[in-house]
């Protein structure tokens, strides 16, 4: 057996320096004429250990973490040349207890089945891992469209973009509307800040998305396919383009594909131009048509009148990636995971103040606590867990005391948050919930397309109130005003963006009212985030008199001689925070 060395080259790996690691290993292999196969793969989800290098030899598989170029030299020398694996650097292996064994073992990988396990730029590797078997099976067994739709229905798969609408139902509607032209669209406009699972799937396993789309196209008799992908994901677009070309070359796209007479399908990529509202399906269609991405009234639903007024089916990246697995393994196999109303697995993007930030795929029904503490490794720097934000700007903050909530669509909805696309941003005691609410509202306010008055102006008014509160000018009655505006915006907006925009504010008021009250009544920010509510003081014990803060203070509020304790004049201080940032000795105190 040849030894293989595989380097993880997803966006996160590359950002952590994986290209340098790859180049180093390649150079070593060439200069020393080493006998191993060097391969590339994508993200395995363990972003917090990047760059990752996997070595497989006759003894087993070893995953090395944090392999920068220097460590790569060491690993190659020891493991390859001396056949002596370096235990201290191994984060996962089948052979002995390694620090991240549980992280891998507690997951059930369906969507991410290939991510990090194969070269995403090779159609052969995808095919060696059951790739394109699902559609070949359908073609060989002459499975009817209705049977395919039925399988998807029975699997219980629900839209993974956040809506949670049963995928099979969507297909059924699109199939029911007859037309010579129909379209299948993949929504890869992952605009929710804090979610990156779609990027990871597109970068790590683009063919599974294509295959899912091909199966959907077969089921609804679509003639054209579009992948609407964010322009912010250049690597995903590059790998999708490679995958589409390979599929064309193999005859998997084009005319009479898979030997099915009359099954013609072409798929092209449409790069989004940067508008969050384009995640909404009617806005997305308007954008593909070259218009401003503004949603329109439904009905008619896209299944009746979508792209170019033809019946159209839109699903999210993760939804499509599930499809081939469901067809091969059957609806029952999929439905064995999950809860009564939410079947299968869900990918979560863990980020924020969490130790193991990265991607995890778990069966629906796991508790939030288990996701964060078992898989996520708990909170960074041993701080206190405060809340988890789910569903991005449309979602809400779930407080620590509700963390035994299980993750499925209905349980998460009951807390006031939403499952959304699966971003989990973890917050600790140093996160100010009013600031978080303001952050999301600022986002939705900017991203509102402007069509509905309540969304356009209401979010702006809410933002002004929050601005006031975080600046220390909160007034009595502000919370009631916020709530009133929130419900008006929810009731009077056309699309999901407006209907959900107030959720972050509503959930934070519901669960963290005391924090709002501290800001409004006592002009204090308990988490010490909102600068206008803080006082900056010099810690006389720690101050070395280095004069850095003094020189950088834009209003000259700091006085003191070299090697003497400095003093901040509270009358002059504008609370810009520069001194706090610049001080190398942590001697500026916040209170």
């Amino acid at each position: 057996m040849t030894t293989t060395v595989t380097v993880g080259l997803g966006s996160c790996g590359i950002a952590a320096g994986a290209n340098k690691t790859y180049d180093k290993i390649k150079a070593l292999k060439e200069s020393d004429k080493l006998d191993f196969q060097l391969k590339k793969t994508s993200c395995v989800g363990m972003c917090y250990r990047e760059p990752l290098v996997e070595i497989t030899d006759e003894t087993g598989t070893y995953l090395y973490g944090e392999v920068d170029a220097d460590r790569a030299v060491e690993v190659i020398e020891k493991h390859i040349n001396q056949q002596d694996p370096i235990r201290d650097y191994i984060v996962y292996t089948d052979l002995f207890d390694a620090p991240e064994n549980d992280f891998i073992r507690d997951q059930v990988k369906i969507v991410l089945r290939n991510c990090g396990y194969m070269d995403p730029e090779s159609i052969e590797e995808y095919e060696s891992r059951e790739g394109y078997n699902a559609i070949k099976m359908i073609a060989a067994e002459k499975t009817s469209r209705e049977m395919v739709i039925d399988t998807v229905l029975k699997s219980g798969l629900r839209g993974r973009g956040g809506g949670g609408f049963p995928t099979g139902m969507k297909w059924k509607f699109a199939n029911a509307n007859k037309s010579a032209d129909k379209y299948v669209i993949c929504n890869a406009d992952e605009g929710d800040p804090g979610a990156f699972m779609d990027r990871s799937v597109l970068e790590g396993d683009p063919h599974s998305v294509l295959e899912g789309m091909i199966i959907a196209a077969y089921a609804i008799e679509a003639t054209g396919g579009v992948i609407y992908c964010r322009a912010e994901y250049p690597l995903a677009i590059k790998r999708l383009n490679i995958a589409i070309k390979q599929a064309h070359d193999k005859g998997y796209l084009g005319k009479n594909i898979f030997g099915i007479e009359g099954f013609n399908l072409d798929i092209y990529i449409k790069e989004g131009a940067g508008a969050f509202v384009c995640g909404e399906e009617t806005a997305l269609i308007a954008s593909i048509e070259g218009e401003r991405g503004m949603p329109r009234k439904r009905p008619p639903f896209p299944a009746v009148s979508g792209l170019w007024k033809k019946p159209t089916n839109i699903n999210n990246v993760e939804t499509f990636a599930n499809i081939p697995w469901i067809i091969i393994h059957g609806a029952e196999a999929y439905a064995q995971y999950g809860t009564e109303k939410s079947k299968g697995t869900k990918v979560f993007a863990l980020a924020g103040k969490i130790r193991h930030s990265g991607l995890v795929e778990v069966p629906m029904g796991m508790t939030i606590r288990d996701v964060i503490f078992k898989l996520g490794g708990g909170i960074k720097n041993d701080k206190k867990f405060k809340a988890v934000q789910m569903g991005g700007p449309s979602g809400g903050c779930i407080p620590e005391y509700l963390s035994d909530t299980i993750v499925d669509y209905d349980s998460v909805n009951a807390t006031g948050a939403i499952m959304g696309s699966g971003g989990m941003v973890v917050m600790d005691e140093t996160t100010c919930m009013v600031d978080v609410a303001k952050f999301f509202l600022d986002f939705t306010c900017k991203e509102s397309c402007g069509k509905c008055t309540f969304c356009r102006m209401g979010t702006k008014r809410m933002l002004e109130i929050l601005d006031r509160i975080t600046n220390g000018h909160g007034r009595e009655g502000d919370l009631e005003k916020l709530e009133e505006l929130a419900y008006q915006i929810k009731d009077n907006s056309l699309c999901g963006l407006g209907q959900t925009a107030p959720n972050p504010v509503l959930t934070t008021i519901r669960y963290f009212r005391d924090e709002y009250e501290a800001h409004i009544n006592h002009k204090k920010c308990p988490a010490k985030v909102c600068r206008p509510l803080l006082t900056y003081k010099v810690d006389e014990e720690k101050c070395t008199g280095c004069m850095v803060c003094l020189k950088n203070c834009p209003v000259k509020a700091i006085t003191g001689e070299r090697k003497q304790k400095h003093l901040i004049s509270q009358d002059l201080c504008t609370k810009c925070g520069v001194c706090f940032t610049k001080c190398k000795f942590q001697s500026i105190l916040l209170s």
Binding site: A15, C47, A273, G423, V436
Partner: protein
């Protein structure tokens, strides 16, 4: 609505001469095709870094798409720029994960160092500083992207150091 993007206090486009003939292949490729407006604008921006008044005029004249429609679309999407940008665009991520891990500090440090505000371009047109919603590298938060390179786990000081080094490398 992102009206903030229409700020015009970036170096003026006066004195720029653009070779508008470069637009011809793009116009030939998309003219008359349905849904062509966004690709036309993306193509123009790819060429010049932004879409100038002259480019708008020419695109409109030759494709027959009304100028008002073009402007309407160009101002709707965050991607399109209507004024010149620097050689290097610094995109500081302000996604949720970056926000809770102090992305504000990075923007402020860079503002101070480059002497520009968020969204503006330096005098010498070497850098443009921008805030973006999410780069999808949340596990490395806070993050910024310059060109195709992403830098993670930053502090304000580190970000400044990286930007300084890019300028130094270009000067030598």
């Amino acid at each position: 609505m992102r009206i903030a993007r229409l700020r015009t206090n970036t170096p003026s486009a006066n004195g720029d001469t653009q070779d508008l003939d470069l637009l011809d292949p793009i116009i030939a490729k998309y003219k008359g095709k349905k849904g062509n407006l966004i690709p036309l604008l993306q193509g123009a921006q790819e060429l010049y870094g932004y879409i100038s008044g002259e480019a708008f005029d020419k695109l409109s004249r030759e494709t027959g798409i009304p100028l008002s429609d073009m402007f309407g679309v160009a101002t709707f999407y965050a991607q399109f720029r209507l004024s010149p940008v620097g050689k290097n665009i610094i995109k500081v991520c302000h996604g949720t994960a970056c926000h809770v891990q102090n992305a504000v500090e990075i923007t402020e440090s860079l503002e101070e160092m480059l002497k520009v505000k968020d969204g503006e371009t330096t005098e010498d047109r070497f850098f443009t500083l921008e805030s973006v919603a999410c780069l999808g590298c949340c596990s490395l938060a806070p993050v910024m992207m310059i060109g195709d390179q992403t830098y993670g786990k930053l502090t304000g000081n580190e970000a400044v150091k990286i930007v300084k080094n890019i300028r130094l490398a270009a000067e030598n």
